[in-house]
Amino acid sequence: MPAGLSAGARATLRITVTDADTAVAAGSGDVPVLATPRLLALAEAACVAAIAPRMTPELTSVGTVVRLEHRQASPVGAELDIEAELTEISGSRLVFMFIARPADDSDRVIGAGTLERVVVDRERFLSRSDSRG
């Protein structure tokens, strides 16, 4: 576990929804609004950003568990803030909460949930994956 990594680490990503972010583009639906898998990817990216300052080059983290609510649709052009916070460390397991809100309306919740990642040695992890073909 990287030294100095502790609960409370957080990061916020600000994005503008583009055509590339829609359910149509993701293949997850047929309406041109923010895709749920895209919201998940943004939430994961916010988690990674939250711990990035404390990670060493040999270590990385990989996603393991997801609970995600996607409560409101976001059209192309919407600006969103996706905030992630590390809430729990248990061995190499990291638990995060995330919340996505419109950049101009922080009272409204677009999506929220909890994500888990585990810290692994980058090379060992890749060699394990490769050996599986």
Partner: protein, 70 residues
């Protein structure tokens, strides 16, 4: 005699010890993989491995026998 059992559902990633090996308390017997993590299974006593009940690639359930140390 000490039975070493799986504490979770996992894949057997590496079998490190063999039947007949002499092991110390804390030696790694096998390495499991669960939730993308490597989880070493350690000898809980010194002795001789009389049974090694798993092979690489096996799936173990919680409570399954992994090894017996005499």
């Amino acid at each position: 005699m000490t039975e070493v059992r799986a504490e979770m559902v996992a894949n057997v990633w590496k079998v490190v010890a063999s039947a007949g090996d002499t092991v110390e308390d804390g030696d790694t017997l096998v390495i499991l993989e669960s939730m993308k993590m490597e989880i070493p299974v350690l000898a809980e006593a010194a002795g001789t491995v009389s049974t090694l009940a798993v092979s690489e690639g096996d799936v173990v359930q919680e409570g399954d026998l992994i090894a017996v140390i005499e």
